[in-house]
């Protein structure tokens, strides 16, 4: 099969354009194109840069380095080439040096990025550029045939302070032309408004620092260092939030100070280049990553992401997951139990032991016992199985203590948790189940248990006045060890006065809540199953055919892909189907699907749940989109409330979503999704409505992609 020439050109140019864009931490090819144009303001400079970039890429390919989206050697070599081209007047020798420098930079990029990562999990960024540029600065001092470039005078724009901002941006590409800076800033805006904001803020605090010092260092010359430091720390390598923004500005200040400190290097013929930015960023990143405690800012050192994307992911994570560091455990029982004391409970869950749950079984009137509750056997939970909340090893266990008669407490020292099992997980968390029934243990110390395995029965031993189950995660194995934050994963919670059972991937139920594990409804899970290779064909009301397919990527990620190539990652677990990481252009069917099914629990007991899908999935009018750009420049997510019911026949399901975003007083975006699911075909009908705009899709065919020896299948519905 021959490739169409335009497509081939795009495929070949893609890595370069994205590599050019990476100079400013961007990835949009359009941004790369703008930066390419900027470098050609002085064509001989642009050409040297391009030569170095091409040479670096060729060297990397020759050496067999993996193809990545944004090859890091490209922007490093580009910068080295630009440096050469701006210092020396163009000649065959300079071109040759650029080619050599490109290849050397490629090597240096791969060597240094690996070395720095192993050293302290730090990103190398443009380190190779600085090192190789210095190398060539040293070399070229002794080369007789090089002719210095004629000095170029660049114009200033008005107002001057604004011109300095753009000039300093241009300096990063050795093109200190304010127009170059304007184009680069435009590239930044295309990619990320948040990074653009950080660039401006970083420049301002850096320039103010220099001014406050009365330093001779010109912000218009070195300012890109502050900007890049603010962007790297504040938006790219950390979840964008107030804390990371503040640390980004701090990094900009440090970069400004380093600009002053490293002035002396210039006298040695080694201009600081981007070194202040690198050192300042590494200092702050390493300092933050080595913190003993957690909390904001949350670093993304191994997965730097544009802040707008991080924000979408962060909002999804907030809606779906507990805060980082909270330990997930499974519900340790079968059936419905009530939380009799939650986290920060009024009785014993206080101080260092605040992260714990007590559970009892109650009847429909809230009583935990039959008859008069005079005997242990009257208590509904007494003797009920207790399950392992995690997989792990039985670290310690005890079941020789007698159960207390109802109302009595065994408060003797060392018997607080009564009969208990302490499990140690593979990641060294200790999970404790307390007050178990005398003689009910089914495991012994040293046993390895699976999550969900029956360990013992609920009892009334230790500091317990009625049969109940105590659950906590503790920091170490001492009986009095402080507890760690925990949450119940995949749980259905019923709360008095609230209609419907709420599903949550990470539940922190409170006192009085009725809790049960979210059990997978096999029929529903099978209806919604999306194996690799599955194709779905939907017809819209105008008769147009839209398709979705599932692919398994090389790295093992499942992606739901629309006809135009737009896609989203999907994670199908035993208890839930979840989508995230939407990429690519708009696609009505894909977007409708993601909005309707973004988070879909498989539990039959899940009647309602919440999620936070990005607003961009909704069919919005041009006016609404314009409003969003102004009022939510960094993107926004819906507050989405989902419900699922059986349809009237009891054989299918109807899943609805109400998605709202309040932009201001009286300004509310309100979108609803409705999906009908049948056990045989999965989603049959899909409707998204927003005001009078409505998208409606009907499933018309399903299929399975072929494999070697397995013909593809396609069935009309």
């Amino acid at each position: 099969m021959t490739e169409q020439p335009p497509r081939r050109a795009a495929r070949l140019a893609g890595p370069y354009l994205r590599g050019y864009a990476a100079v400013l931490f961007c990835s949009h090819p359009l941004a790369g194109l703008l930066i390419l144009a900027v470098t050609f303001i002085r064509p001989e400079v642009g050409a040297t840069g391009l030569l170095a970039a091409l040479s670096a890429r060729a060297a990397s390919v020759q050496l067999g380095y993996a193809e990545v989206e944004q090859p890091p050697e490209i922007y490093n070599a580009l910068l080295v080439g630009l440096a050469l081209g701006s210092v020396w007047s163009f000649s065959p020798l300079v071109a040759g040096l650029a080619v050599a420098a490109g290849a050397i930079t490629a090597l240096a990029t791969h060597v240094l990025s690996g070395w720095l990562w192993r050293l302290n999990r730090l990103p190398a960024m443009s380190l190779a550029f600085v090192v190789i540029a210095w190398l060539f600065a040293a070399i070229s001092r002794d080369v007789a045939f090089l002719e210095p470039a004629r000095p170029v005078l660049y114009p200033d724009l008005h107002p001057v302070w604004l011109s300095h901002f753009f000039t300093s941006l241009g300096w990063f590409l050795f093109t200190p032309h304010p127009v170059a800076g304007v184009a680069m800033f435009a590239a930044l805006l295309i990619s990320s408004r948040y990074l653009a904001l950080l660039a401006v803020a970083g420049y301002v605090v850096g320039a103010l620092t220099l001014t406050a010092l009365g330093s001779a260092v010109l912000p218009s010359l070195t300012g890109f260092n502050f900007m890049l430091a603010a962007m790297a720390v504040g938006g790219l390598f950390a979840f964008p939030d107030r804390a990371s923004f503040a640390w980004g500005l701090f990094a900009a200040v440090v970069a400004a100070l380093l600009c002053v400190a490293l002035q002396g290097l210039a006298q040695l013929g080694l201009p600081p280049l981007a070194a202040p930015f690198l050192l300042a960023s590494w200092l702050v990143m390493a300092g933050l990553s080595l913190r003993p405690g957690g909390g904001a800012p949350f670093l993304l050192l191994d997965t730097p992401t544009l802040p707008e994307r991080s924000l979408i992911a962060a909002r999804l994570a907030r809606a779906r997951l507990a805060e980082p560091g909270s330990y997930p455990v499974n519900v340790p029982f079968f059936g419905d139990w009530q939380v009799s004391q939650g986290i920060d409970g009024p009785h014993t869950h206080r101080g260092p032991w605040r992260h714990a749950f007590d559970f009892i079984v109650v009847d429909e009137r809230g009583r935990s016992h039959r008859n008069d509750g005079g005997t242990l056997g009257d208590y509904l939970g007494f003797g009920a199985p207790v399950l392992a909340p995690v997989a792990g090893q039985v670290w310690r266990c005890e079941d020789r203590l007698l159960d207390n008669p109802p109302g009595e407490i065994d408060a003797r020292a060392g018997r607080n948790f009564g009969n208990h099992v302490l499990l140690r997980t593979a990641d060294a968390a200790f999970v404790l189940l307390g007050h178990l029934q005398h003689g009910s243990l089914r495991v012994k110390a040293g046993d390895w248990v699976e999550a969900g395995q029956i360990l013992a029965a609920c009892g009334n031993s230790g500091r317990s006045a009625q049969p109940h189950l105590h659950l906590q995660v503790q920091a170490f194995d001492d009986p009095g060890a402080p507890t760690r934050p925990l949450h119940l994963r995949s749980t259905v919670v019923k709360r008095a006065g609230v209609a419907g059972a709420a599903f949550s991937l990470s539940a922190r139920p409170v006192e009085g809540d009725i809790v049960s594990g979210a059990l997978r409804d096999r029929a529903f899970a099978e209806a919604m199953h999306l194996p690799a290779g599955r194709t779905l064909g939907f017809r819209d009301d105008a008769g147009g055919l839209h398709t979705l397919r599932i692919e398994l990527t090389l790295l093992g990620q499942f992606r739901l892909i629309g006809a135009g190539g737009a896609s989203a990652a999907l994670d199908e677990r035993i208890d839930v189907l979840a989508f995230y990481d939407r990429q690519g252009a708009a696609d009505p069917l894909l977007d409708s699907w993601l909005l309707a099914f973004g988070l879909t629990p498989f539990s039959g007991a899940a009647e309602r749940w919440t999620d936070a899908p990005p607003v961009s999935l909704a069919p919005l009018s041009a006016a609404e989109r314009a409003l969003l750009v102004v009022l939510r420049p960094f993107g926004a997510s819906f507050d989405s409330r989902y419900e699922r019911r059986r349809d009237a026949s009891g054989q299918g399901w109807r899943q609805t979503g109400r998605h709202r975003l309040t932009l201001g007083p009286g300004l509310v975006l309100d979108v609803t999704t409705e999906a009908e699911i049948d056990p045989l075909h999965g989603c049959r009908e899909l409707t998204v409505s927003s005001g009078d705009r409505r998208r409606h899709f009907t499933l018309v065919e399903t299929g399975l992609a072929g494999d070697v020896g397995v013909p593809a299948r396609r069935e009309a519905v």
């Binding site: 029982f333 079968f334 059936g335 419905d336 139990w337 079984v361 009847d363 429909e364 039959r370 509904l380 939970g381 003797g383 009920a384 199985p385 029956i454 594990g517 059990l519 997978r520 096999r522 029929a523 035993i574 009237a648 026949s649 009891g650 054989q651």
Partner: protein, 459 residues
């Protein structure tokens, strides 16, 4: 020599020592019962007549909740099918459905009854050895769980599925010997002979049926819970076979019913307090067996319970009145009541507990209780110790909730009304007393027979 005065001879008598406790020390907690959930029985009888069935909504709901709680805290996937044949009064079925019970029916009539109550076909378990073609067609199209009893039925369902052009899920009923109770080999496919295995293979081969469940019912009034553990073990082995050999996906294991209620079976020596296991005891053994059966499986099958008797029996009482008494030739006392085996069908095999509705002074004596039928077999209790009751006194029989409102007969007498005492204390008549009109409603008298005595009244 003096002659010792001779004491007068008296006939030796053995008098049982009755202290109100039985030999296990269990005390009868009361000697009479004057109310149901706070509503005076006397008032009910005044309003609705005697005899009268009285249902307790509270007890009914408590019983089913207790059953489900006991099982669901021990095994996570438990469904409950309300066994219509146990008591298919609409009020009872509707209460059960409100508690989340599916409908378990055994005939086209029961199926239609469940549908009329608003139960969708997909929430009906269709059992029974005879399902007419029309009923199968309806059940298959509405998505009911169809439990096949024999090969002819299997072939019939295949035919129905072919005609409908769709794959119909079904289950097969198994019978086997658990070693605990007498095997009910007349229902379903036998496991030991391989008939059940053949049926599973046949279903797979037919292509239009899909085996999704297994059903068996090991008996009735099963007093040893270990019988169920044996049953589940055999069914789980069969499940493994069916999944391995026929590619089936078993979604549920239906263990039928058969839990005993707190009723005294005739011929059983121990009183029910001793003989009948608690729901928790059944749950413990059954769920333990299920947990062993599902070890290592990704999707655990549902456990379906169809136990009706243990849930409804003690939620209903029968109030009757003494309408006559006589001393039998052997010296025993007998009472004639206005309710007989025509309405209390289970009196054939239970010794129902019966209590007066007020405290009655006097020495209890052995009494025979007869019903109002002119049939020799109409005996409500062959022997019961009761204080002296007079005309118009009431006797309350309990537990009577299972099998009476479905098996009672339209024989000689008008069948009594059934009332339900709601949880809020209100009383609703849920079934009217028979009247001449209701008894005659189905009859058609040919016109030629319309006039009695066309030739004048006979002498």
């Amino acid at each position: 020599m003096t002659v010792a005065a001779r004491k007068p001879w008296s006939k030796p008598v053995l008098t049982p020592h009755r202290t109100g406790t039985n030999k296990f020390g269990m005390a009868r907690h009361r000697f009479y019962r004057s109310e149901v959930d706070g509503v005076a029985i006397e008032e009910l009888v005044e309003r609705y007549g005697s005899p009268l069935f009285v249902l307790s909504e509270h007890r009914l709901r408590e019983n089913v909740r207790r059953l489900l709680r006991a099982f669901r805290t021990r095994y996570p996937r438990v469904r409950y099918g309300w066994s219509y044949k146990t008591n298919y009064l609409n009020a009872v079925c509707a209460t059960m459905h409100q508690e989340g019970a599916w409908a378990e029916v055994v005939s086209d009539f029961e199926y239609d009854k469940a549908r009329a109550l608003g139960v969708p076909g997909s929430r009906i378990i269709f059992n029974g050895p005879y399902k007419p073609r029309a009923a199968l067609e309806k059940a298959a199209s509405e998505g009911a769980l169809i439990h096949l009893d024999n090969l002819d039925e299997l072939f019939l369902l295949e035919d129905v599925a072919r005609q409908m052009g769709k794959t119909v899920p079904c289950a097969i009923r198994l019978n086997f010997d658990t070693g605990y109770s007498e095997a009910w080999s007349r229902f379903g496919f036998n496991v030991e002979s391989g008939a059940a295995h053949d049926a599973a293979r046949r279903i797979a081969a037919a292509g239009v049926l899909k085996l999704t469940g297994l059903h068996s019912h090991i008996g009735t009034f099963v007093l040893d819970p270990r019988a169920y553990a044996a049953q589940i073990k055999i069914m789980a082995q069969f499940m493994d076979f069916a999944e391995r050999e026929t590619g089936a996906h078993i979604d549920y294991i239906d263990i039928g019913g058969g839990f005993a209620s707190r009723n005294a079976l005739q011929g059983v020596y121990l009183p029910p307090d001793q003989a009948v296991p608690s729901i928790d005891q059944y749950a413990e053994v059954i769920c333990q067996a299920m947990m062993e059966a599902v070890r290592g499986r990704k999707d655990w099958p549902w456990l379906i319970l169809e136990t009706g008797r243990a849930v409804v029996d003690d939620a209903e009482s029968l109030v009757s009145s003494v309408v006559g008494s006589k001393r039998l030739p052997d010296g025993r006392k007998s009472l004639i009541l206005d309710a007989g085996v025509n309405v209390l069908f289970t009196a054939y095999w239970y010794n129902h507990e019966c209590q007066p509705t007020r405290a009655i002074d006097g020495i209890p004596e052995e009494t025979v209780l007869y019903g109002p039928l002119c049939m020799n077999i109409d005996v409500m209790r062959a022997s019961v110790w009761l204080p002296p009751l007079g005309l118009g006194d009431r006797l309350v029989f309990n537990p009577v909730g299972a099998y009476n409102n479905t098996q009672w007969q339209e024989f000689i007498q008008y069948r009594p009304a059934v009332v339900m005492v709601h949880e809020n204390g209100e009383v609703a008549e849920v079934r009217r007393r028979d009247t001449l009109e209701t008894m005659l409603a189905p009859e058609r008298l040919p016109a030629a027979l319309g006039t009695p005595f066309p030739n004048g009244l006979p002498e």
